[in-house]
Structures are given as C-alpha cells and as structure tokens.
C-alpha cells in the first residue's frame, strides 16, 4: 500500500515542476538495525522519487557500503541524504513524516535549484563563517 495518498502525490508532483536540476536521494538502510523504519523510509523515498524524472534514488547498506557511509557520515539508520549537483550536507535521520515531509520536499527543490531561500545579508554572513557548523534539528511528526 502506498504511503502517499493520491492527492499528496499530485500536490508534490506540482511542487516538483520547480525542479531545475538533478537531485539524488541516497538512502541508508539496515534491516538488522531498524527493519520497519528502514522499509517505510525506503518506500516513502521511492514514492517521492517517482514523482519527478529529475530525482534518482540509491539505497545503500552502511555495513556493506562502508566507504560511502563513512564519506556521507551515517550516525544511524534510516538516513536519507538529499544531494543536488553537490552534497550540500542535508540529512534526514528517521522517516520525514508529518511536518518534516514538507521540509523534505523543500530540501529537494532547493537542492535541485542550488538556491538558498535566504536574504542577501544572511548569505553574506554565511560566506564569512570561520568554522564548520552542524545544525541538528530534532522534531516529531505532529
């Protein structure tokens, strides 16, 4: 059974008309660690990827594809990387359901376009950051 309802698929397909470049969803799954969550996340990402020709999906197992997992940084599973022309460092740990689903769609569109929806002042300040910053955002589906 599909996770996304028909009306959701239609709404996302319409949003994806804004995609201007390729996006790759790299999904790390490991059934031995979290079978149900990994299966559901894989299915959700497959359904999302099917809504645009611009989106490709790759499913990897961090225990088998160790070099790739190390390169991406995989703290746990399921993990989804949203990649545009380069890896922007956008990750979703767990299933992006509920409110986070809209952030997943927003991330795909922004990564595809390579455009940050931020003010020019913000972009200018970010260009001067003296060190790397990892932002963890904890949320729940509701």
């Amino acid at each position: 059974m599909a996770i996304l309802q028909t009306k959701d698929q239609e709404a996302v397909r319409k949003e994806f008309e804004r995609l201007t470049g390729p996006v790759k969803l790299v999904v790390f799954s490991q059934e031995l660690v979290a079978a149900d969550l990994c299966r559901q996340n894989e299915q959700l990402m497959k359904e999302v990827a099917a809504l645009s020709d611009q989106i490709t999906l790759e499913v990897l197992n961090p225990q088998i594809d160790r070099a790739r997992a190390e390169a991406y940084g995989v703290p746990d599973v399921p993990l989804t990387v949203v990649e545009g022309v380069r890896d922007y460092g956008i990750r979703f740990l767990g299933i992006p359901a509920g409110y986070e689903f809209s952030n997943l769609i927003d991330a795909i569109i922004a990564a595809s376009r390579g455009e940050a929806g931020l003010s020019e002042e913000t972009k200018a300040t970010l260009a001067t950051l003296p060190a790397e910053v990892e932002i963890k955002v904890f949320s729940t589906p509701t």
Binding site: D76, Y88, G89, I90, E100, A116, T122, K123, T125, F138
Partner: protein, 70 residues
Amino acid sequence: MRLAQHMAIASDKVRAVAIEATEFPELSRVYQVMAVPKIVMNEHVQFEGALPESQFLDAVVRAASGDGHR
C-alpha cells in the same frame, strides 16, 4: 529545518541534519530534547522553538565562533 537546510545550501561550512526525535529516543535523551523543534549547533549552542532568520543566523555565527550557550 527549513532555515538550516537553506543555510547548508548557501554555505559549504554548514550541515543540516533533521532528526525524528521519537524514532531516536537515545539521541533525544543525550541532547535533552523536551520540546520540539530543538536545535543543537556544534553541540554547544542549543535552543527550542522556531527563530526568525536573523536570530537563527546569530546562533550559527556563535556556533562557528565557538561561543557558549544560547
């Protein structure tokens, strides 16, 4: 997550990781997630709730500068 992911696109120094708190209770416990959204930047800058872009950016700058809490 929206601001974080857009900042990741704008800067190759920024990474944005969305974490589904209920699926990772151990991680949520470690970071003392009592309310969502909870944001943790470089482990030492932490806050709860949504912030406007300018204040969120201030927090990113503090995290990058190694400044302390909140």
